[in-house]
Amino acid sequence: MAQFLMIIVSAVFINNFVVVQFLGICPFLGVSKTTKSAFGMGLAVTFVMTLTCLITYPIYTYILVPLKIEFLEIIVFIFIIAALVQMIEMALKKFSPTLYRAMGIYLPLITTNCAVLGVAELVIDKAQIASLIGIAPSAMNIGFAVLYGLFAGVGFTLAIVLMSGLRGKIQRLPINKHLKGFPIAMIAACFIAMAFNVFALI
C-alpha cells in the first residue's frame, strides 16, 4: 500500500512528467487553449501511456533482453506506439463513438508525443525508475511499470488542465504583441513549475 502511494505521489507530483521532467511539452503548449481540449488530450495520453507500458515492458524484458538485441529498443518502441495508437483509434471508432468524440482527434498527435516514448524508455531503465518510486531495482516488475505509466499520464493531465485554466485567464488580458502566444504560455508554465517544485522540497 505504501508502495502504491509512493508511485502516485512520485509520478503525479514530485516527478511530474511535464513540468519537472519536461516530457510532452508540445501538447502542453499546443493543446491547452481550452480546458475541454486539454482534458481530452490528457485522457488520450493517459490511456496510451498505460497501454504502452503494458506492452513495451514485457516485450523488452522477455524478448529483446534474452535475444541480446536491446539496442533495437528505440525502433521497436516507436513502432509499437504507432501501431497501438492506430489500433486504439480504430477500436474506439467502432466500439465507443462517445469516447472517440472525446479523445479521437488527439490520438494521431500522440505517436510523436515524447511523453509516451519517454515513459516506455523510463520504465525499462531499472536503476532510474527504482530510485524514482523508491523500490529495489530487482523488485521492478510489470505491475509497477503499468502503474507508473498510468499515474504519469494522470500527472500530465493535471498539468495540462491547470495550464488551460491559466491560459483562459491570460487571453483576456492586454499583452504586448511580442509576448503573446508561446512566451506568455512559457511564463505561465514557469509558475506551474514553481508550484510543483514544492513537492520536491518536502
Binding site: A82, T112, H178, F182, A189
Partner: protein
C-alpha cells in the same frame, strides 16, 4: 537547379530558427539547458541525425510511396538515433548519462520530422544535407545560448568554469527553464520585428528615391 546555400543557411540559423522562431523540440531545450556544454552535446547529436536522415530521405524520396512516408521517415530517424546511441555508448559513456532519456527522444523531436517532411522529401541530396546542417546549427546555438544564460545566472559558471559565487537558484530549477525560454522567444520576436521595420524603411526610401529620379528625368524631357 542551383543550390542556394546562403538562403538555406539564413533560414536554418536565423529566420526559421527551430528554437526561437518555430518553437520546435522544446522538451530537450527546456530539460538540458541547465549548462551551456549540454547544448553543444545535444546539438551535435541532433546535427548528426538531421544530416543523415535528411540525406537518406532525400535519396529515397522518389521510392517511398506517399501514403506510408511518415512511418518510413520515423524508421529512418529511429535507425540513426540508434546509431548515435551505440556510438556514444562506446566512445563517450559519460555523455550518454548527461543526455540520458533525451537521447532516444530525438526520434520524436519535431524538428527532424518537420525537416524531413517539408524539405528533404522535396529537395536534392546536397540541399537537404546543407539544410540539415544549418537547422542543426540553429538548434545548437539556441540551446547553447539558453544554457549559457541559465548557467551564468543559476550556477555562476560558464561552460563549466567557475566565474563567481553569486547565483540565483531559480534559474537552475525547472521554473527557471520555462521563464528563460519564454523571455528569449519574446526577445527574438522583438529584435526580428525591429530588423524587419528597418528593412522596410530602407526599401521605402529607395522607392521614393527612384520615383524622384524618374520625375526629374521626365522633367528634363
Amino acid at each position: 537547379m542551383k543550390t542556394n546555400v546562403k538562403k538555406i543557411a539564413m533560414d536554418g540559423v536565423i529566420t526559421q530558427n527551430p528554437t526561437f522562431k518555430l518553437v520546435l523540440g522544446t522538451c530537450p531545450t527546456l530539460a538540458l539547458t541547465t549548462a551551456a556544454m549540454n547544448g553543444i552535446y545535444m546539438g551535435m547529436a541532433v546535427i548528426f541525425v538531421l544530416i543523415c536522415s535528411n540525406v537518406l530521405i532525400s535519396l529515397l524520396r522518389k521510392i517511398i510511396p506517399n501514403q506510408v512516408r511518415i512511418p518510413a521517415f520515423v524508421l529512418i530517424i529511429a535507425t540513426f538515433v540508434t546509431v548515435v546511441r551505440l556510438l556514444l555508448d562506446y566512445f563517450l559513456p559519460d555523455l550518454n548519462d548527461v543526455l540520458g532519456l533525451y537521447l532516444p527522444l530525438i526520434v520524436v523531436n519535431c524538428i527532424i520530422l518537420a525537416r524531413a517532411e517539408s524539405f528533404a522529401s522535396k529537395n536534392t541530396v546536397l540541399a537537404s544535407a546543407l539544410d540539415g546542417l544549418f537547422t542543426g546549427i540553429g538548434f545548437m546555438i539556441g540551446l547553447t545560448v539558453l544554457g549559457l544564460v541559465r548557467e551564468i545566472l543559476g550556477q555562476g559558471a560558464a561552460f563549466g568554469l567557475k566565474l563567481w559565487s553569486f547565483k540565483i537558484e531559480f534559474f537552475s530549477s525547472p521554473a527557471g527553464a520555462f521563464f528563460t525560454y519564454g523571455v528569449f522567444i519574446a526577445l527574438f520576436s522583438f529584435i526580428s520585428s525591429l530588423i524587419e521595420k528597418k528593412r522596410k524603411l530602407k526599401l521605402y526610401a529607395k522607392l521614393i528615391e527612384s520615383k524622384q529620379q524618374n520625375n526629374t528625368e521626365t522633367e528634363c524631357e
